[in-house]
């Protein structure tokens, strides 16, 4: 497969310079590399600017409700485990509105990849704080500045037992594309948190701000060490590590339920189901 095979007829409606473009570029590259046809890939999203992304790649797309991408994605994967299922979501969509689904789908561990465009602000609703907005940031709705502790998605995901947790930066599409590819290859629930500037509403966490702080983890970094991973995940104020922060293979939902031993649920004949045996139990 080549890039042109994934060319959508729909073009992005993002603001010029938006960090989402970098994620789109990186995801396209990653998808080409995994060597699957567009028909075998499903992109699922909720609501927000990040959630529009599936329209800009020619793959199957389910653009659902705010915060609800994960339930749709995991169930689609369960119904057809041959699909490669990727969620593109934002910090509001995934960490705010859909927070409960994130917690529980980390536990469920269905083999899907979640890419969070984390711009630390609500862009589509014009500039309110998001769950990841830094303390002190002033918005129209938070005129005294944000005083609530921001959510730390990377350390949270590691603590919850997520088997693949990575952080990327949308300005470094080459590195991000590699991270996304690794996340897709990982068997189980994988989370890629992407630093992604909002050029209109986030005047603090800009390209310059992220570029000054972001650094790539050394090749010698041991991503299987959970204590080390939690230490790295906590770095934020001065230096922000990029890369696969934590990786550990775990049994997936599909393995536990024996789904892989069966043809995908969608291929089962349902026109001739005989329930005589079940009915016997009610005699």
């Amino acid at each position: 497969m080549e890039q042109k095979d994934f060319l959508s007829s729909d073009s992005p409606t993002w603001c010029p310079g938006c960090g989402n473009f970098g994620v789109l570029t990186a995801l396209k590259k990653a998808i080409v590399n995994i060597n699957k046809e567009p028909k075998d890939i499903l992109l699922v999203s909720g609501i927000g600017q990040a959630a529009k992304l599936p329209h800009y790649i020619k793959c199957n797309c389910f653009n659902g409700l705010h915060g609800r991408a994960l339930p749709v994605a995991v169930a689609a994967k369960i119904a057809n485990h041959k699909l490669t299922v990727i969620v593109t979501t934002g910090d509001g969509d995934c960490y705010g509105e859909g927070g409960n689904h994130l917690l529980h789908n980390i536990r469920r561990n269905v083999d899907i990849t979640v890419i969070v465009h984390n711009n630390q602000i609500y862009g589509l609703t014009k500039g309110q704080a998001s769950p990841t907005t830094d303390i002190g940031y002033v918005t129209q709705f938070q005129p005294q500045g944000v005083f609530e502790e921001p959510l730390h998605p990377v350390s949270m995901a590691i603590s919850l037992g997520c088997g693949f947790v990575a952080r990327g930066y949308s300005a470094d599409t080459k590195h991000l594309s590699w991270l996304i590819g690794e996340a897709i290859r990982y068997k189980g629930f994988s989370l890629v948190d992407v630093l992604q500037p909002c050029v209109v509403f986030n005047k603090k966490n800009t390209y310059q701000w992220y570029s000054e702080k972001a650094y790539k983890l050394e090749p010698s970094y041991d991503s299987s060490d959970k204590v080390l991973a939690l230490q790295k995940a906590d770095e934020w104020d001065n230096k922000i590590p990029l890369g696969i922060i934590y990786k550990k293979q775990k049994q997936t939902f599909e393995e536990k339920t024996g789904l892989y031993n069966l043809p995908p649920l969608i291929e089962q004949d349902i026109e001739n189901i005989d329930i005589t045996i079940a009915l016997e139990e009610f005699k």
């Binding site: 329209h55 653009n63 995991v74 119904a79 699909l83 969608i266 005699k283």
Partner: protein, 570 residues
């Protein structure tokens, strides 16, 4: 002539009324009797007062009676609570010594002494089975077989102790109780099933090809997921306990989009969380079947009791305008067949379809005959073979009947775009006014028009009667028996097992002839009566409404009808 009586087993939660009740139901069914059984339970795990009511009859039974003929009281409180409900010539059976009861008119059985003799108080249930069996004059051998079956997962010792306890209860009663008021004349046993409404819905879903069931447990819908879970391995069904109802419906929609038939079940409080998903199903045209097992509300309400007050909510759940269908089965048989139809209609029209039931139908048992092979399952998708030729695919192609051929992702060569935003035929987001018009027409007008052609006709009884009772859902049984009992009045009923689209023409043709129309509903707002008026212009002359959280029984309804007539004539 009808010969019947009602047995009630009552005690604290946790004393196993359901186990003993189910053993007795199976037993009476196997002697050829018809049964109707219902549980009345409190929202607690131990203590309180629960009762399991079994009506045994030589003609089919569809509803409850108000008075009990035999009350088996397993604790002291039960005697006090239920003695005023005792029918003429009725008997209360209790362990007077254990509970220090002085009352005379009680048939005293040393439940606890017998049970303890075999090792534990837990055997009082089996003693009770033996007592009831002796009173009803059934051969002990039948009970022995039933107990073996009921405790098949227990050790041989436990089974033997249960049988021995039952035998002693049986022998004690045979010796001490000499009346034959409640002796059963056995009919010829038939190959019938004993199940409740939720069992029927679960079995209907399995037959219909449901491959993915997800729900958050909520009384009284929970047993649907338990029954599907019980058979999941045999039928390759994936079940998942969702983190909340929002996840449940979105998961059901995700699985359905990917190509399988899927379902979720809940009660009103859970449905309140699901409504954004209902709207998503409507907008994305993704089929989904949702069971609303109603319980009294608002908010947490009466968790283990019954009501039919979600009709307005289900009719309007989800923002915006889109087609839907709502089935309201009145019997266990209808619960089974209409669940299969619900899956078919959901897939054919690519819409959300509701099955509305309630605690009364969900938890009440009857002997039924089901023919699973009478329903043919036909898929309404682009099949796998046909899919190979499909390349440039538009999910929302505008068609005459509003239904776009539905492709399954990965089966076709092309890709599928689905969006909750307003979208083009291809599925991409749009703000075009003309496309908006055509998509609304598709999702709303055109699909409703199609649905109207296959609406489930209401069932009628004595439809030329002067007085017609109108009801929906679980009141079917009480309507039927009231009409059968009131021979001196010209009384009939019309029962709706589908309320949306409203079967207006069938309803109008019957109600036009009626002199008096009375709607009978388990709610306070006369919700069906109002729907009837809004859809047909026909206004019921009177309403009989019950909203105390308890189901109707035939005696209650007849009493209310008598009052109505005496008021009219006075």
């Amino acid at each position: 002539m009808r010969k019947e009586f009602t047995i009630t087993i009552t005690g604290e939660a946790g004393q196993g009324m359901q186990t003993i009740g189910m053993v007795l139901c199976g037993l009476f069914k196997n002697t050829g009797c018809h049964i109707f059984a219902n549980q009345d339970y409190m929202s607690r795990i131990r203590g309180g007062n629960n009762f399991f009511q079994i009506r045994i009859s030589n003609t089919p039974a569809y509803t409850l009676r108000q008075k009990f003929d035999i009350v088996v009281a397993l604790d002291k409180n039960s005697v006090e609570i239920h003695k005023h409900k005792l029918a003429k010539n009725g008997i209360i059976i209790a362990d007077k010594k254990q509970f220090k009861i002085l009352q005379d008119d009680i048939f005293d059985v040393p439940f606890y002494d017998i049970a303890k003799k075999y090792g534990s108080e837990i055997f009082i249930n089996s003693v009770a089975c033996g007592v009831v069996l002796s009173i009803t004059g059934i051969d002990f051998k039948i009970l022995e077989d039933s107990l073996k079956q009921a405790f098949s997962d227990k050790t041989t010792q436990i089974i033997e102790n249960n049988i021995a306890s039952a035998k002693q209860g049986y022998d004690f009663t045979t010796q001490e109780y000499k009346q034959d008021t409640y002796k059963i004349v056995c009919c010829r046993p038939t190959k019938k099933f004993l199940m409740n409404g939720n069992d029927a819905i679960a079995l209907g879903a399995i037959k219909a090809g449901c491959k993915f069931y997800t729900a958050y447990p909520m009384t009284p819908s929970t047993s649907i997921m338990n029954v599907i879970a019980h058979f999941a391995k045999n039928y390759n069904i994936v079940i998942e306990q969702a983190e909340d109802e929002i996840a449940a419906i979105n998961m059901a929609i995700g699985a359905s989009f990917a190509g399988v038939r899927s379902m979720s079940g809940t009660s009103g409080g859970g449905l309140a969380l699901m409504v954004e998903g209902v709207s998503l199903s409507g907008m994305t045209e993704t089929p989904v079947v949702i069971v609303d097992a109603q319980r009294p509300a608002p908010a947490t309400g009466f968790p283990t009791r019954t009501e039919q007050a979600d009709l307005n909510f289900v009719l309007h759940s989800g923002h915006g305008e889109f087609a839907r269908a709502i089935f309201t089965p009145g019997t266990i048989e209808q619960a089974f067949y209409l669940t299969i139809k619900a899956f078919d209609i959901a897939e054919k029209y690519q819409i959300p379809v509701f099955i509305m039931t309630d605690q009364h139908l969900a938890d009440s048992y009857r002997d039924v005959i089901l023919d699973p092979n009478s329903m043919i399952t036909k898929r309404h998708i682009i099949g796998k073979d046909e899919s190979e030729g499909v390349n440039s695919y538009k999910r929302y192609t505008l068609t005459e009947n509003g239904i776009s051929p539905r492709a399954i992702p990965s089966w076709i060569k092309g890709v599928i775009y689905v969006d909750s935003d307003e979208h083009t035929e291809e599925g991409h987001i749009t703000e075009d006014a003309e496309i908006r018009n055509r998509m609304v027409e598709k999702r709303f007008y055109k699909k409703m028009k199609g649905l109207m052609q296959e609406v489930q006709s209401p069932e009628t009884y004595n439809e030329d009667a002067e007085i017609i009772l109108v009801g929906f859902g679980s009141t079917y049984g009480v309507l039927k028996e009231a009409c059968e009992n009131f021979k001196e009045k010209s009384l009939g009923f019309l029962h709706l097992s589908q309320v949306w689209p409203f079967p207006s023409s069938g309803v109008i043709s019957v109600l036009m002839k009626a002199k008096t129309i009375v709607n009978v509903e388990n709610n306070a707002g006369s919700q069906l009566g109002n729907l009837l008026f809004s859809q047909t212009g026909i206004k019921p002359d009177a309403s009989i409404l019950k909203f105390d959280g308890r189901p109707f029984d035939v005696d209650y309804l007849m009493e209310k009808l008598e009052k109505l007539w005496s008021k009219k004539t006075s």
